[in-house]
């Protein structure tokens, strides 16, 4: 199809490069250098979408990021992306776009009935309507609202592309590469400073792209920047947020302009930029005027139409009316006339101006003192109604297919505001500009109200130079700005033309001037409240074209100046950012790093079924071919430990070396029990409390030398315990001479447990007498194992005779194999975390389910461990009445009365129908087959021997259980001491 609105020459499109694309399935052609919006206009496509609430027909309103209307679904299948702005989507060959938010066709949308219902569905409609009956909330109202809400559809499938993070540092970050930004980057770059220039467009130049005669200046500026080795140019990069201490976030659309990202190329890159100084050269956004029908396809910002004509060589219409309140907007009329559009009339509320006179001299019809009072047409503009300013009456109608609107320009102050700078009202520009900087930033050019290319470039150069000097660089040669006339951007104050029909202040969110007044009448008069009540200035455009207009309407209703009403607070993101970019590379296997012990490969070869323990992968159990199910594996492994011998990887336990002359004193203070009395070569079980008196962690600690201890923590608390120790050393006892080293990764450890453990360990280690007399329970010694240095601990978690053999991690596989070989005659089996859990529940050892941050030592039956003398963390507050109350739930053992009936962790323990506690851990027993568990039960000790109910309402189960001692298995510890 021909591009009948394309001009024969001019602009920044390459007419020799034809790009095919589809919109709603229709095939079109555009050129390299086009945006999707430019290419649609070139093909005469005006209707591109339906509005959010009323489903009104909408066209292309702007030529940039401020676009409220032209939101389309881009691409299809797994790459479908909703709500992309056609005005910034770079055209590529094969692009497929679809219009959004209509039922039925785009041209005839059944939901447009909402427009007829409009008097009843104004602001607050949802808040007021969908309240009764409550039973309808989930079943009726929510599905209905969800169906009606939103615009485009996400693909609902995994994104096939990848995204990456990137980190940058610079002396000067320049945001925006219009005349001000280019000049700023050049001035800063010339000093030798490290400069990043980020521009959201794919071309540098901003408004320079609309000025063919300034092309040499633009080209030279870009060439100069490219030649500076310390200048990084980032096109297609939107700086979306200004955070603390000079940190800014940006998204680079690396491959969005390609059909698919090339191999090894991310679709987008999420930059975190740390800048010593920031120059904001973000330009300004033209603002709309609220008048009835100001949303009809064919109504367009004046500057946008000029951009389509000059930059893209596209005529946005055949016959245009300009409705403007300031002289600078007249440039659009001249540019369009040059492009061949007939200027039917210029409507201006002012009495007279220099531009009006120039326009008349050029032969244009100028209606001074008049305003647009309405628009005529259906899915496309056919005419414009005009009237005398202030009269409200309709005077005239002008046939036109394009209505150019300009109510003035709003400096893009978003980033300055986010940096903490206040906003000041500029009486001449009728807009907010940044006030004094709080962070090390400065605005330059149109974003602080300095309009005109020459003036903006001069302002930018000064800002860039000042920024570089502030970053510690010596000033360099000046950048000469282009010499251009400065058009007058000071508008006549006209925010709204009142009349019959909808006058939108937020076209994207279908918010009218009447909605704003309604919000005020109903008490939502603060700008932040009015915003939330009406949805004004939300959405992808965040009110860039009409936000201030809505504030002005509110100001009028409040009878206060706009400056007093202000704007809603700006927050990131200035423009939409995809979730993919935010997630970056931290998806799939990179969501969190996977931590593997040195024995990972060994477990894999043994058929380990993995479970996650924090970042760790640990074998839950080893699935043997003969095992009927997981329980069969777990019971087989546990039985091997109880009857013969088993080996378990316990490398994940945290290990900390505490060393120094004050090491013993330090441990006495951080543990509830005493370590200064521990002999060298012996281990002791230790209990660590938090300062509030609750149990924090447990583990065994070994005295390796008078001033050196080897502390172990639980797997889960290894990091927190290290921080806890470091904090108290730094804050409470900095006088103690002690050092802390994490050696978790240095040592791999395996527990060899079972009646035959001694035989197996003896066959593996050398240089150690393992007899009970020489190496009793809780003894520790260095030795050799399978020819490598090792340390053997006689400690037990399972309740059996057990040894923990620790070796430098690189030898773990060697030693494991030696243990397995030595264990063959004894029927050794590797056992996983599930069997370990089974064994400790049988034995009554507490673990994370019991040490859950809510239990005291006394609750766990460990109260006698608390030393009576000397300070330690948690000592004082553990004595509070609430924590020493004898009625607190205490640790008990539990046994299902019917061995076949399963009990579940989390179940309530009912006595006489009332909950008196809960089950913390359950397992099947191998010692006395059936379901057993541990739990916390009020008056637990007194209830030993009684039968109560384990209730799990979620499963609809009530299971009789018998309360037993938690230490039912080998209560005298004969086995561990055997």
């Amino acid at each position: 199809m021909s591009q009948r609105f394309r001009l024969p020459a001019g602009g920044h499109v390459d007419r020799s490069r034809r790009l095919a694309f589809t919109f709603d399935g229709r095939r079109f052609e555009g050129h390299e250098g086009d945006t999707l919006a430019a290419a649609l206009l070139a093909n005469g496509v005006r209707l591109v979408g339906r509005s959010f609430k009323y489903h009104r027909p909408r066209g292309i309103f702007s030529a940039g990021v401020e676009e409220p209307n032209a939101l389309v679904e881009l691409r299809d299948g797994t790459r479908r992306e909703p709500n992309t702005r056609a005005t910034v989507v770079e055209l590529f060959d094969g692009l497929a776009a679809t219009s959004q938010n209509h039922r039925g066709s785009l041209a005839f949308d059944w939901m447009a009935v909402n427009g007829v219902l409009a008097p009843w569905i104004g602001a607050g409609f949802y808040y007021k309507t969908f309240m009764w009956p409550a039973a309808f909330w989930e079943r009726v109202y929510e599905p209905m609202i969800r169906k009606a809400a939103g615009l485009g559809r996400a693909s609902g499938q995994p994104d096939p592309d990848w995204y990456e993070a990137a980190h940058a540092h610079c002396d000067v970050l320049v945001v925006g590469a219009g005349a001000a930004g280019l000049a700023a980057a050049r001035a800063a770059g010339a000093t030798g400073a490290r400069v990043i220039l980020a521009e959201q467009d794919f071309l540098f130049g901003g408004d320079l792209l609309n000025e063919p005669e300034l092309e040499p200046w633009r080209g030279e500026a870009i060439a100069a920047l490219q030649a500076m080795p310390e200048v990084t140019l980032l096109p297609r990069t939107t700086v979306f947020g200004f955070y603390d201490q000079g940190v800014l976030g940006a998204v680079e659309r690396v491959a969005d302009h390609l059909p698919q990202p090339p191999t090894h190329t991310p679709r987008q890159r999420y930059w975190t930029i740390r800048a010593k100084e920031v120059v904001l050269a973000t330009g300004a956004h033209e603002r709309l005027i609220a008048f009835p029908g100001n949303d009809r396809p064919g109504v367009m910002l004046a500057g946008a139409a000029r951009t389509y004509a000059r930059r893209f060589g596209v005529k946005a219409g055949e016959t245009a009316v300009l409705f403007a309140t300031h002289d600078a907007a007249y440039d659009a009329a001249f540019a369009l006339a040059e492009a061949g559009t007939r200027i039917a009339a210029i409507i201006d509320p002012r009495a007279d101006s220099a531009a009006m006179q120039r326009a008349r001299q050029a032969g244009f019809t100028v209606q001074a003192g008049s305003v647009v009072t309405g628009t005529v047409g259906g899915n496309a503009l056919r005419g414009v109604e005009t009237g005398v300013a202030g009269s409200g009456g309709r005077a005239n109608a002008v046939a036109a297919d394009l209505l150019l609107v300009s109510g003035g320009w709003n400096p893009a102050v978003h980033l300055a505001s986010m940096s903490g700078a206040a906003l000041a009202w500029d009486e001449a520009l009728l807009a907010f500009v940044p006030a004094a900087a709080v962070q090390r930033e400065r605005s330059a050019g149109a974003c602080r109200g300095v309009h005109g290319i020459g003036a903006a470039a001069a302002d930018g150069a000064a800002a860039g130079r000042a920024a570089a000097i502030a970053a510690g660089f010596a000033p360099a040669a000046d950048v000469l700005p282009p010499d251009t006339p400065a058009p007058d951007h000071r508008p006549y104050e006209l925010w709204e033309v009142k009349g019959r029909g909808k006058a939108f202040v937020d076209i994207q969110d279908d918010v009218t001037a009447d909605d704003i007044r309604l919000a005020h009448r109903e008490g939502f008069s603060h700008i932040e409240h009015a915003k939330r009540y009406t949805t004004h200035a939300m959405g992808t455009d965040q009110g860039k074209t009409g936000g201030l207009v809505g504030a002005a309407v509110l100001a009028e209703a409040r009878r206060e100046p706009v400056a007093k009403v202000g704007l809603p607070r700006f927050r990131p993101y200035t423009s939409p950012v995809t979730w993919g970019a935010i997630a970056g590379g931290e998806v799939g296997q990179h969501f969190q790093p996977v931590r593997r012990t040195a024995l990972h490969g060994v477990h894999e070869a043994l058929g380990a079924v993995w479970m996650d323990a924090g970042l760790w992968k640990r074998p839950a159990y080893y699935a043997n071919p003969g095992d009927a199910d997981a329980w069969a594996s777990v019971l087989r492994e546990a039985r091997a430990v109880r009857e013969r011998v088993g080996v378990c990887d316990v490398s994940t336990l945290g290990k900390i070396v505490v060393e120094g002359p004050d090491a013993a004193t330090f441990l006495d203070r951080v543990y509830a029990n005493t370590f200064s009395t521990l002999q060298v070569g012996r281990a002791r079980y230790g209990l660590m409390l938090r300062e509030d008196g609750l149990v924090f962690d447990d583990g065994t600690t070994t005295r390796l030398a008078p001033d050196r201890f080897f502390v172990t923590t639980t797997t889960a608390q290894a990091g927190p315990v290290m921080q806890h120790l470091e904090f108290h050393h730094a804050s409470a006892w900095p006088d103690l001479d002690v050092s802390l080293a994490s050696v978790t990764d240095q040592w791999a450890a395996m527990s060899i447990a079972g009646p035959k453990a001694r035989d197996v360990v003896a066959a593996v280690v050398q240089g150690i007498d393992l007899s009970n007399a020489a190496f009793p329970f809780m003894a520790v010694a260095d030795c050799m194992a399978a020819g490598v240095p090792a340390r053997v601990f006689r400690i037990s978690f399972s309740g059996e005779l057990a040894y923990e053999v620790a070796v430098p991690a690189g030898y773990a596989a060697t030693v494991w194999q030696a243990v397995m070989t030595a264990g063959v005659p004894h029927g050794i089996e590797p056992y996983g975390v599930e069997a370990l859990g089974l064994l400790r529940i049988e034995k009554g050892h507490v673990a994370g389910a019991e040490i859950n941050g809510q239990t005291t030592a006394q609750d766990l039956g460990l109260g006698r461990m608390l030393k009576k003398k000397g300070d330690f963390i948690g000592r004082t507050l553990a004595q509070r009445p609430g924590l020493t109350d004898p009625a607190r739930p205490r640790l008990v053992g539990l046994r299902s009365v019917d061995p076949a009936r399963q009990i579940r962790a989390g179940s309530h323990l009912l006595v006489d129908g009332r909950s008196q506690g809960w089950i913390t851990s359950v397992t099947q027993s191998v010692v006395d087959p059936g379901w057993i568990g541990l739990g916390m039960l009020r008056e637990g000790e007194a209830r030993i021997g009684s039968s109560i109910i384990a209730a799990n309402p979620l499963m609809g189960e009530e299971v009789p259980v018998k309360v037993v001692s938690p230490h039912g298995y080998d209560a005298e510890n004969l086995r561990v001491r055997a």
């Binding site: 955070y243 603390d244 201490q245 000079g246 940190v247 975190t272 740390r274 903490g420 709080v438 300062e691 509030d692 921080q723 470091e726 904090f727 108290h728 730094a730 804050s731 409470a732 900095p734 000397g870 300070d871 004082t876 507050l877 004595q879 509070r880």
Partner: protein, 91 residues
């Protein structure tokens, strides 16, 4: 996102640090009563303005640092080692 200048490592991202709250409270001595420990553990001024805070540079040198930070503007005015004292300006 904050940037905190560690006295040992230089300016680093907030992500490298972990926050540990008001650094002006000190752990009571061994003879203190439950009331003193209660105040130490639970009572905070929670000022709107300047506060001296504990931050651990656990992603870097692991040092516990005292940071003078404004709770509204997020300005960081001073960072010092654990053993040093930072004064709250104009409090």
């Amino acid at each position: 996102m904050l940037r905190i200048t560690c006295p040992h490592c230089g300016a680093r991202d907030e992500l490298e640090f972990s926050y540990r709250g008001d650094a002006t409270v000190t752990r009571p001595g061994p003879d203190a009563d439950a009331g003193a420990f209660h105040d130490y553990l639970y009572l905070r001024r929670n000022p709107r303005g300047w506060q001296v805070e504990w931050w651990q540079h656990n992603g870097g040198c692991r040092a516990f640092l005292k940071v003078l930070r404004h709770t509204v503007t997020h300005e960081v005015r001073a960072v010092a080692a654990a053993t040093e004292t930072l004064e709250v300006p104009g409090a």
